[in-house]
């Protein structure tokens, strides 16, 4: 650096968090649009919920949930960012509204458990991803689904069983990706790194 030139100011934590949340919100949106895995019966599933799990696991509870809030605000404002280009206010009026809204506490719980310590522990990442990414999301989604469709909770649970294998597969991918990323690029895991203990 030439003498006299001042070093550019390093980004504050707030600015860095905003950039990371925005980027992850966009990443979750993109994962919902990519060529999907065709499921038996022709209903395609996307990797969107993989993105939700990763948001919590990589960014931690607050920024992870914040990324999903950003995504939902833009969806409500009329952008087609949910799976297969769906979006708009209608996404929060249908029977799957509870699942989409459940992503917010879901990502929070994934982050809370996964990033409880640094270095990441495999069992914690598995517990967090399954608990937050699947159980919390289902717990938010099924009552809304049952209410909207006029079914009982047991019937709604039975329908959701069809999605469980796909979600477990995505949880497994999310766990593997989180640990690969923690080794390759640990900077974003700042929530866990600030509470370094085993």
């Amino acid at each position: 650096m030439t003498p006299g030139a001042t070093a550019p100011a390093a980004p504050s934590t707030a600015v860095r968090s905003i950039a990371q949340m925005a980027m992850f919100a966009a990443l979750v949106a993109v994962l919902g649009q990519l060529p999907a895995i065709p499921l038996a019966g022709g209903v395609p599933i996307t990797l969107q919920t993989l993105g939700v799990m990763l948001a919590g696991a990589v960014l931690g509870p607050w920024r992870g949930a914040g990324a999903i809030v950003l995504l939902h605000l833009l969806v409500a404002a009329g952008l087609p960012l949910l799976a297969h280009g769906s979006g708009g206010l209608g996404a929060f009026a249908g029977p799957s509204a509870g699942f989409a809204l459940g992503w917010i506490p879901g990502a929070f719980v994934v982050g809370l458990i996964t990033q409880a310590s640094w270095p990441l522990r495999l069992w914690r990442t598995i517990t967090g991803t399954v608990l937050g990414g699947i159980l919390v999301v289902y717990a938010c989604g099924m009552p809304v689904m049952a209410f909207q469709m006029g079914l009982t909770m047991e019937q709604a649970a039975l329908i959701n069983l069809a999605f469980l294998p796909g979600d477990l597969l995505k949880a497994a991918i999310a766990v593997a990706l989180t640990h690969s990323l923690a080794r390759a690029y640990p900077a974003p895991f700042s929530h866990a790194r600030s509470r370094r203990r085993t």
Binding site: P8, A9, P11, A14, V15, R16, I18, A19, Q20, M21, A22, M23, F24, A25, A26, L27, A29, V30, L31, L34, V43, L47, L50, L54, V58, G66, L70, L71, A76, A77, G78, L79, P80, L81, S86, G87, G88, L89, G90, F92, A93, G94, P95, S96, Q148, M149, G150, L151, Q155, L158, I159, I173, A176, L177, S180, L181, A184, Y185, A187, P188
Partner: protein
């Protein structure tokens, strides 16, 4: 990324965003509360159809919306027919579709930028409260516009990754695609944060 909004000059297009949102919210609430009431259901369908007719979106727009909802209809109808009588199933599907189409009407007749600016207007007075959480209306607006800008950036990252994989004869496995996508996106977030800091954003 094309917003779902359809420009127009109808009464629905010109209505204030808040009033339109409240009206649609109350109609959806009514449909959920009076769920067994045929009169309410027919009323909401009538409002929805009139809305589509007079907003200039018309029958073709309605059919296009229904086509977008095809997976919803499939996932909605099949379990209903297993668990409930056909009459109950028809009633439930009709109610859910009416509410979703009514909500779609809001999206179709309101510009995304108008929704975002009214959202910011609602947040502004809450600023003292938001500041305690380390947030502000300004920061939320910045995050929202950064997200919109980031979608095409990440799509181009994905295209680069797929091209590199094709050159090496790789098949698109989720793990091999998403890991580089994650690293590239997070690096880009860091560059964005530095660019913002250099422009004096704190």
């Amino acid at each position: 990324m094309i917003p779902l909004y359809r420009p127009g000059t109808s009464y629905l297009h010109r209505m204030p965003v808040g009033a339109k949102f409240l009206g649609i919210f109350l109609a959806a609430l009514a449909a959920s509360i009076f769920r067994e009431n045929l009169g309410v259901l027919l009323g909401i369908w009538a409002v929805t159809l009139l809305g589509f007719r007079f907003s200039g979106i018309g029958l073709r727009g309605l059919v296009a919306q229904l086509w977008r909802l095809k997976w919803l209809v499939v996932v909605l109808t099949i379990p209903q027919l297993i668990f409930l009588t056909p009459a109950e199933a028809g009633f439930n599907v009709a109610r859910v579709l009416a509410v979703v189409l009514l909500a779609a009407l809001f999206t179709l007749t309101t510009a995304t930028s108008d929704i975002l600016s009214s959202f910011e207007r609602v947040l502004r007075p809450l600023d003292p409260l938001l500041l305690r959480l380390g947030l502000s209306a300004e920061r939320i607006s910045l995050a929202l516009s950064l997200t919109i800008r980031s979608v095409p950036v990440i799509l181009s990252f994905y295209a680069d990754i797929r091209e590199a994989q094709r050159a090496r004869g790789m098949r698109p496995a989720p793990r091999a695609t998403v890991l580089p996508l994650l690293v590239m996106s997070l690096r880009h977030a860091e560059e964005t944060a530095e660019a913002l800091a250099a422009r004096g954003v704190r």
